[in-house]
């Protein structure tokens, strides 16, 4: 298997290596040591506010074989995002700072770990890449100044290009509606975005109260605000660019 530089060598023993472990106390207090957990378990977000309890890691079913790894994946993410994520030493600061990590299936640094291992499918199918809103809190607390937001942007776009099933279709639909509005008006028209999003989702009743309140307070304009030179904007959407 081809092993580009800066990527973990394929012979690396992935399961049961001490360096994979997050900073949890593994001793059981009775002198015996617990069996190390498979990698993906460790990088999944604990459901109980960060404390690993026994029931959270009782399922040891998921292990990673290095044969599954796609080593081109890591270099592609690195190239497209312009970010060297191999600087990451998994201090978990990004996960601690992330306001959404509790809702994600993998922690933010867990995504970096999956990329480092070349586990393309697992990374691109995760809900994490969609729940990330790019608030940059992670990059701000990162001791290595890794541009997490750029990595997430890249992975989202790769998932779409590869046709991988999207873990959070509602979020994707919302993005599509915002871009649809920009394509047509050059600016966002919130009322139409919301209506089209609701039609797509076939969900009319949730948030009805919020919508009515916003209408009553004149927060949703009926008519869109438009760019005059809309042809220019539409060209952005149709042009396939080859920037150097």
């Amino acid at each position: 298997m081809q092993t580009p530089e800066n990527i973990w060598p394929s012979t690396y023993q992935l399961v049961g290596s001490a360096s994979l472990h997050p900073p949890y106390n593994w001793s059981r207090g009775d002198g015996r040591t617990r069996r190390p957990l498979p990698v993906t378990r460790l990088l999944r977000t604990p459901r109980n506010g960060g404390i690993m309890k026994k029931e959270n890691y009782s399922d040891l079913g998921e292990t990673i074989k290095s044969d599954d790894s796609d080593f081109q994946f890591a270099s592609e993410v690195k190239k497209r995002s312009g970010t060297d994520f191999n600087m990451c030493y998994h201090c978990w600061c990004c996960t601690g700072g992330c306001p959404f990590s509790h809702a994600m299936d993998y922690t933010p640094n867990g995504i970096i770990r999956l990329v480092q291992f070349g586990l393309k499918r697992k990374a691109l199918e995760s809900s994490t890449i969609w729940l990330c809103v790019g608030c940059n809190t992670c990059s701000t607390v990162c001791p290595m100044r890794i541009d997490m937001s750029a990595i997430m942007d890249t992975m989202r776009q790769m998932a779409l290009e590869e046709g991988i099933s999207v873990a959070e279709p509602d979020i994707l639909n919302f993005h599509k509606e915002v871009l649809h509005s920009i394509e047509h008006y050059g600016r966002t028209h919130k009322l139409e975005i919301m209506l089209r999003y609701k039609i797509r989702k076939r969900d009319w009743f949730s948030d009805m109260d919020v919508g009515l309140k916003m209408l009553a307070k004149r927060k949703l304009d009926l008519m869109p605000s438009k760019v005059n030179d809309i042809g220019e904007i539409r060209k952005f959407f149709t042009d396939v660019k080859h920037k150097t």
């Binding site: 306001p99 989202r156 927060k219």
Partner: protein
């Protein structure tokens, strides 16, 4: 009055979609404020959406185009004032990219036949404030905001990608300016917690508890209100808070304009979902 108008300095102004529509109260109070500070904001002709979160999320090259068009529209020799922290981030990020990357700059210069202005000064409205002597501009008293206890909410405007980490940082500015006008800032832990942005639409179940925590945090400090600099944060904090007694939320520009004695505030506060007027009345501000 005419003399006063003539002495105003023209600056280009990029309102952004939120201020142009859902947060008109933010826009109106900001324009008032700018004029009081001696600037005449001239709306950027035919500006377009900066791309918001969605463009860079699923089509990076589109985000570049949208931000670049605005930068190339800006007339030379004037600073470009931006009100929304999110637009600011997108535009400034693109500006740095164009400044440092000759190929990208050349691409757009050829496309529009305009040369890129490397001296374009993109200003957030915060940057107008430290120079201004606000207590002197206030109408009746030097401390018009006496009695208001607030917590400052910066949202993610202080967090930036690493390439921009050396840019100006505004932390503490809201506290400093508002306390110079008599208001009392309180310390809390949520000043730079993300409001949830677009997840408010697609995943309200995730955003609601976050927003409630922010509102509860404000109550625990004993604050009367939250002051925010971002129109998006303002909307999310208002629509996703389902506490029985929600906390009033002000745009920073509203409180400043109010302190300087603007009296067209009826049109601003009637657009709030959480009515701030009882609070202001109890403090004798309106």
């Amino acid at each position: 009055m005419d003399n006063h108008k003539n002495s105003l300095t023209d600056i280009s102004y990029f309102p952004g979609c939120s201020l142009a529509t859902s947060a008109k109260e933010n826009n109106l109070s900001l324009l008032n404020l700018c004029r009081r500070l001696g600037f005449n904001p001239v709306e950027l002709d035919d500006w377009n959406c900066c791309g918001s979160s969605s463009a860079h999320s699923i089509r990076s090259e589109l985000a570049d185009d949208l931000a670049a068009r605005n930068l190339f529209l800006a007339p030379a020799g004037r600073p470009l004032l931006v009100a929304c922290p999110s637009c600011m981030l997108r535009l400034r990020h693109m500006y740095i990219h164009l400044r440092d990357d000759e190929a990208a700059r050349g691409y757009y210069e050829d496309k529009w036949n305009i040369s890129f202005d490397p001296n374009l000064n993109i200003l957030h409205f915060f940057e107008l404030l430290p120079e201004a002597n606000l207590p002197n501009l206030a109408k009746d008293s030097e401390h018009p905001l006496n009695g208001i206890r607030f917590v400052p909410y910066y949202g993610c405007m202080l967090a930036r990608p690493p390439v921009m980490s050396r840019e100006k940082n505004y932390y503490g500015l809201m506290e400093k300016i508002l306390s110079s006008l008599g208001a009392e800032p309180l310390l809390w832990g949520y000043a730079s917690r993300c409001c949830g942005t677009f997840l408010s639409v697609a995943r309200p179940d995730v955003v609601r508890p976050m927003v409630n925590n922010i509102a509860l945090g404000a109550k625990e400090t004993g604050a009367d209100c939250i002051v925010t600099a971002c129109a998006m944060c303002h909307l999310n904090l208002e629509i996703r808070c389902d506490l029985r007694e929600p906390v009033p939320i002000f745009h920073f520009s509203e409180l400043l304009s109010l302190a300087l004695g603007e009296d067209d505030h009826k049109g601003w506060f009637s657009r709030h979902i959480v009515d701030p007027e009882p609070l202001l009345r109890s403090k004798g501000l309106i």
